[in-house]
């Protein structure tokens, strides 16, 4: 039995005691999955599992706090759940986690680019077949085979946790844990001068349309309607259409995720203009790992480092002037 069939069976078994189960279903076309909220066994039959399950299902959980819900997760999504549990934004007893090993998800921007290189339009993909590490797309009467490695999201290449770190039902054989992330991409970026880095961000942020999708898709952005970026008193960010305002909004987002971001990459995935937002959060994660030896979303009973302190900090120099 495939992982999908096993998941469906497990969900159907637990469904009567749950309000709903959040998973992925078919979206508006063959390439796009969409989150679905399964309430009946018929809904469960619509469940999908595979490299197109790009959404982080944990994002929806805080909206249902206090209700008993189920959720289907990949490894990265499970880290978000752990972080939410750690911060008491969820109760462990209220969430039933279904999981299967994940070998990476596709980055639709990459698929779009590789199709464009062949003169094809992503909007015309009629069917997608997944076999092993190959995605076969039927576009405009021809079959295009893409290697999943080539079109996988960046986060999957450095993912350490392919298996959910928290789960009630785990189907299939766990995959082997990969080596820890060495933040090569950051080191590469930081070879540039300060001025070049600033110029880079200004250029990227110029495209931002302030749709706030990055915030809304983030599982850890739980302030939602009370976001300081939209408050007028105090007015952290104005409505002015200015690079510095957009950039500052991203600084707010990053700082509010310091020590909490689980690098699910939703901010970057949902960005309609492809701003590499995850880089900012990865920088903070790297520094926090160095300073406090802490990785968000890996241990339920750990305390987020910025909500704690040590009288004698090991890695902070107290700056003898």
């Amino acid at each position: 039995m495939s992982h999908l069939e096993q998941l469906k069976a497990a969900i159907k078994e637990r469904l009567p005691e749950l309000e709903m189960v959040i998973g992925w279903g078919q979206g508006f076309d063959a390439l796009h999955a969409t989150p679905i909220f399964m309430k009946t066994p018929e809904d469960v039959d619509k469940l999908l599992w595979g490299p197109l399950n790009v959404h982080n299902t944990a994002t929806y959980l805080t909206a249902y706090k206090g209700k008993k819900v189920g959720v289907v997760v990949k490894g990265c999504d499970s880290r978000s759940i752990i972080e939410l549990l750690q911060e008491k934004l969820l109760n462990r007893d209220d969430v039933v986690v279904f999981a299967a090993p994940c070998s990476g998800v596709a980055d639709l921007t990459r698929i779009k680019k590789s199709l464009e290189a062949k003169g094809l339009d992503m909007g015309r993909v009629k069917a997608v077949a997944v076999a092993g590490d190959t995605l076969t797309l039927s576009v405009a009467g021809q079959d295009v085979a893409l290697s999943l490695k080539a079109v996988a999201a960046d986060k999957c290449g450095r993912c350490q946790y392919h298996n959910a770190l928290v789960s009630d039902v785990f189907v299939g054989e766990p995959l082997q844990e990969s080596a820890a992330d060495n933040y090569d991409d950051l080191a590469e970026f930081e070879k540039q001068s300060m001025d070049d880095r600033m110029a880079y961000w200004k250029k990227e942020m110029e495209r931002c349309i302030r749709c706030y999708a990055c915030r809304n898709a983030c599982p850890m952005c739980v302030c939602r309607d009370h976001c300081i970026a939209q408050s007028r008193e105090p007015g952290w960010v104005s409505q002015r259409d200015d690079v510095s305002e957009k950039f500052f909004f991203q600084m707010i987002h990053a700082m509010h995720l310091a020590g909490r971001c689980t690098e699910c990459g939703e901010c970057q995935r949902v960005c309609p203009v492809d701003i590499p937002l995850l880089l900012l959060k990865r920088k903070l994660n790297k520094e926090i790992k160095e300073l406090f030896d802490y990785q968000a979303g890996t241990k339920i009973d750990a305390k987020p480092p910025l909500l704690a302190f040590k009288v004698e900090e090991e890695n902070i120099n107290e700056r003898g002037w």
Binding site: M255, L284, F309
Partner: protein, 149 residues
């Protein structure tokens, strides 16, 4: 010293603000680039204060609080220490020179130390020169628009 730069200092009410006052009462000479903002505790300082200040055109930001283990509220500066260190290490990726921000601890009786801190930090900022401007001046945009019309 060359042209005055814009340095913003966030000082904790209980120690560093008092320390700066002590320095003033003692008539210690100090550079005049620093504008002081008095905060109840260094723990009150949101790291975003620092980023916002720098984005909006300050040439340097200095935060000063009570020495660790000496906080009026027992542990405010312990939290501040972690946050300030994190924001300091975050700056390089944004393209903001982390040397433009510094944090330190000065107690109310340390007028001399305050003088040393302000002088050293101001000299460092002067060595870096004025910060590259990140925020576009809205009036400039308007001017360009008016020209176009």
């Amino acid at each position: 010293m060359s042209q005055e730069l814009r340095i913003v200092g966030f000082l904790c009410n209980w120690c560093s603000y008092g320390g700066a006052d002590t320095a003033g009462v003692g008539r210690f000479t100090q550079p005049t680039d620093l504008r002081v903002i008095r905060v109840p505790c260094s723990g009150r300082i949101d790291p975003l204060f620092i980023l916002k200040t720098l984005v909006n055109g300050a040439d340097g930001v200095l935060v000063s609080g009570c020495h660790p283990r000496d906080c009026h509220y027992a542990e405010g500066n312990f939290y501040a220490r972690r946050r300030l260190e994190v924001v300091h290490r975050f700056m390089p990726i944004l393209g903001i020179d982390p040397r433009r921000f510094s944090y330190t601890w000065v107690s109310a009786s340390e007028g001399q130390r305050w003088q040393h801190v302000v002088t050293t930090f101001t000299n460092e900022i002067h060595a870096l020169g004025p910060a590259p401007k990140i925020a576009g001046n809205p009036m400039e945009k308007l001017g360009a628009l008016a020209q176009a019309v």
